[in-house]
Symmetry: C2
Subunit: 296 residues, 2 copies
Amino acid sequence: MEKSTRIGWIGTGVMGRSMCGHVLAAGFPVSVFTRTRSKAKELLDGGAVWKKSPYEVAKGSDIVFSIVSLPSDVEDVYLSEHGVLAGLSEGGTVVDMTTSSPKLAVKIYDEAKKKSCFALDAPVSGGDVGAKNASLAIMTGGDRKVFDRVLPLFETMGKAITYMGKAGSGQHTKMVNQIHIATTMIGTIECLLYAYRSGLDPSEAIRAIGSGAAGSWSINNYGPRIVNGDFEPGFFIDHFIKDMGIALEEAKRMSLSLPGLSLAHEFYIAAKAQGLGKRGTQALYLVFERMNGIER
Amino acid sequence: MEKSTRIGWIGTGVMGRSMCGHVLAAGFPVSVFTRTRSKAKELLDGGAVWKKSPYEVAKGSDIVFSIVSLPSDVEDVYLSEHGVLAGLSEGGTVVDMTTSSPKLAVKIYDEAKKKSCFALDAPVSGGDVGAKNASLAIMTGGDRKVFDRVLPLFETMGKAITYMGKAGSGQHTKMVNQIHIATTMIGTIECLLYAYRSGLDPSEAIRAIGSGAAGSWSINNYGPRIVNGDFEPGFFIDHFIKDMGIALEEAKRMSLSLPGLSLAHEFYIAAKAQGLGKRGTQALYLVFERMNGIER
């Protein structure tokens, strides 16, 4: 890819800041917009150029990336009057890396096409650490040839980069990821509660079961944090509720009943109700503790 | 351990047959009882001696192992008139490797103690393949010094051999294992159904998510079998229902509410109702398919 390719970046939260930093470090000219300008300071100090709207970012870019918060933010960034698609020139490419609605990803793809532009949906997994270390998993939907073109930029940010199929497939894959995590977390929490209540040493129990058929990333990574009383994010419960909500909405749209996901979703809503929205997803353990009359 | 130590073995099903075979191959004198004599044929051909009851096995043994089916079978094998504890001499040791009730394990331990005998509960994980390859995980409860004494025999059968604490701790640890597997399997099934319904290639989806934070033994091992329509056991649904039943009963006894485990248990009962009791645990996928109106 030509090092003169002009990159636009929208959204410089914990994730976006690191990801955009990798693109900038790779030597591309980058223009930036984010809601709170101070969050882009480091990037601007590093040579990125400030723009005052998604529209302005798109005006001066060949490829525009975004990683924002909610699907409604994504819609606003791309499809509003001052949005990216209003500003992008023919032949331009947009890449939304927010975990967002597959349906919206298809809508953006269709709208881009009407303007002879290209769109990918490419949500990530791996959290702030993965963003910092450029070791994110990136799950991509859209046209294969567009994916191939953008790949060198993805490679500055991540490691397991997969092309999953037509528009929306990246978001669908991320939903597969979140659906699996949701119930696995319930398993992690319930088995630790059982270990605790039955008088086992929970750390020993994790060691005994974690490498066999009951093993999961969740029990081996969140398990020890739970045992140590570490409920810091990782990944916010608030964000996980958003993701599960998208998955449940899509599932409903496809007439798909997912009782395990629904159960997890309900308990995470309880976690939010108990003031745990800004704690890590493993803090669901506290809800199950309280439910079982266990005092901390 | 003296190679003259006389070993008794009760239960030569798929698991017990291989496990007892390893002890025999290590050069110990072994006497055997099992309900269906033909199932012990290979062991008898290999030099094991047939006994006509658990009592008779115990009479001529220093250490008696068992791996049978239900907790009621365990109770019968150890505590009945013709059972092991009636026949065992002072100083003898019993090791139940059935996945059974922690409460019953404590009862056997107490009864053994009254006779100046020793007892371990040592259920295993790793299935028929693990039993054959001597790579089982063995989770042990009882007295540490008894565990240390039996360890050389465990080492002929398994790899990850852990001492978990007082009597019943082995069974409790196995329950921790099963509780975690139960909900993780729901996650595996639901995320694959979502992948299928959303038009993704499920194999690609497994590859995309299996090595990250959503990874589990279940998605990486059962996932591909489900995608290939392979519902052979592995581990019987009937046996898993038994294990979850024990876990739920123990949890209730300890006043512990485990909604995820309960949900999994209910769906596995549905699987049994649909004639899937002798299929592998991954065949729960078929229940979720039918529930969602998907025809095979």
